[in-house]
């Protein structure tokens, strides 16, 4: 960087000392992203309303027949899977329903990851636990995770209801020939904003399941 242009980059040398401007910028940036997330949330819920209710009706049918919900995902999506299992089993109101996140047991996850490969960590658990009335719900932002696609294929083979939450254009989870019967897609290309609207979809879907079972 020639010295003559340093005035264009006042903080390039790391001598910035007053944080007031940065704090103001951060607060404005937070506000912009927050409102963007709010708009995406509303648009997603609006666009998905009919799909959500069809999915909820199918889920209520499975629960009514004694089915259980298995949730799965990787990374932040694994925590979404955990949050959903928590919501169904320990709801703020309504009926507690059987649900479990497949990523939560570290002994099982590491055993399968180490012995048979990470692509199979969820599908192998469904082989062990799955029954025809159960529900498999997978979370991905790309819609492309191999271990999710393997789990959905196994779930379908067993006659389980398969539900996917994805972002971007839905990826493989929403593509032709997918084993995902109900794929709810958040149309965004930001992983964070996708997960934020997926949380809203999870809550709306759960509420609709409760309504359907009431």
């Amino acid at each position: 960087m020639p010295e003559t242009t340093d005035f264009l980059y006042p903080f390039i040398e790391g001598d910035e000392t007053d944080s007031a401007t940065l704090l103001e910028d951060l607060a404005r940036s937070a506000e912009g992203k927050w409102r963007q997330s709010s708009r995406l949330r509303l648009a997603t819920l609006d666009r998905s309303a009919a799909h959500l209710h069809a999915t909820a009706a199918a889920m209520a049918g499975r629960f009514g027949a004694g089915g259980r919900l298995f949730t799965f995902g990787n990374g932040g999506s694994a925590t979404d899977a955990e949050a959903v299992a928590h919501l169904y089993t320990q709801p703020p109101w309504g009926r507690a329903l059987p649900a479990r996140s497949l990523a939560e047991d570290q002994a099982v996850m590491t055993a399968l990851g180490n012995d048979v490969g990470f692509d199979l960590v969820f599908s192998r658990q469904l082989i062990a636990h799955g029954r025809p009335h159960d529900i498999a719900m997978g979370f991905s932002t790309s819609g492309n995770s191999d271990n999710l696609m393997m789990a959905f294929a196994e779930a379908r083979k067993q006659g389980m209801l398969t539900i996917g939450l994805a972002g971007y254009d839905g990826g493989r989870m929403a593509a032709e020939g997918t084993p995902v019967e109900q794929c709810l897609v958040v149309r965004s290309d930001s992983v964070h904003r996708i997960q934020e609207s997926q949380a809203a979809l999870n809550h709306a879907l759960w509420a609709a399941v409760q309504e359907a079972l009431a």
Binding site: E16, L26, A30, E31, G76, T79
Partner: protein, 272 residues
């Protein structure tokens, strides 16, 4: 700032049929209608007004602490998935090329105070997502000064943590649990995003002015917070941000291990 969120959120819990909160009962999970101050309809996203500045300040503090080598300890006794999400966010960034930062989840089944007491070192960060009255969290946060850690408390509801109970309180006014849970995800996503923006300002990542032995009001003229490790007669071994010290406890009621005291010139002057 936070008062705005509280005003918006102090609406009575709106119960639908069967005592259900209206929040989650609408078709498609549409948010309940809410009126802002002055009866103005609330715009989607208005909650940010109450937390934007707090988020900004907490992000800068996190970036400074990480720059100085901090580990961030994340805990959420009632919602362990939120703590896991925060930790994975910082350790394994969704944006390629961003620094992996040391963040850890406190195991949900662990005794929070005991686990953190054993693990944290001065300069670390303790970030908690919890209600204001969670006794485990209250007991953890009050030790932050003695442990020398930066504390961040994220939560929601009409009741906020007592003033001064954490270095950073990021609080939403809503008392609807599902709405709060959704907004928590936004809060920690933004905390991560803003923390990384701060790293682009290396001049601001230098530690804040450190205290010097001669002039520091915190060290010389006031009591310093400490946590009692063990007691023998009138003497106690205590933990402070500067390390372990032996102090005289004859001026106060005999403390027990784990008690917090204020120390001055080698004496415990008050139990806190």
């Amino acid at each position: 700032m936070a008062d705005i969120a509280q005003v918006i959120g102090t609406e009575e819990p709106a119960a639908g049929p069967g005592g259900r909160p209206r929040e989650a009962a609408g078709p498609g999970g549409r948010p309940r209608e809410a009126a802002g101050p002055g009866g103005r309809p609330q715009e989607p996203g208005d909650e940010i007004a109450g937390v934007a500045d707090d988020l900004a300040r907490a992000s800068l503090a996190l970036a400074r602490r990480f720059s100085a080598g901090a580990t961030m300890w994340c805990a959420s006794p009632n919602w362990p998935f939120h703590a896991h999400h925060v930790a994975v966010e910082f350790v394994h960034p969704v944006i390629m090329g961003k620094r992996a930062l040391p963040a850890v989840t406190v195991p949900p089944a662990a005794d929070m105070v005991a686990s953190l007491r054993a693990s944290v070192v001065p300069g670390d960060i303790v970030l908690v997502l919890a209600d204001a009255d969670d006794p485990r969290v209250v007991d953890t946060m009050r030790r932050g000064a003695a442990w020398g850690v930066e504390t961040v408390w994220i939560g929601a509801g009409p009741r906020r943590p007592e003033p001064g109970s954490a270095n950073h309180v990021i609080w939403l006014g809503t008392d609807a649990p599902l709405e709060a849970s959704e907004l928590f995800v936004r809060i920690y996503h933004l905390l991560w995003e803003l923390t990384h923006v701060c790293f682009e300002h290396p001049g601001l990542m230098k530690p804040e002015p450190a205290c010097t032995d001669e002039v520091c009001i915190t060290c010389s003229d006031e009591g310093r917070p400490a946590e009692v490790v063990s007691v023998e007669g009138d003497e106690a071994l205590v933990r402070t941000p500067d390390g372990h010290e032996r102090i005289d406890v004859s001026l106060i009621d005999l403390p027990a291990p784990g008690d917090l005291v204020l120390i001055h010139a080698g004496f415990a002057i008050t139990a806190s």
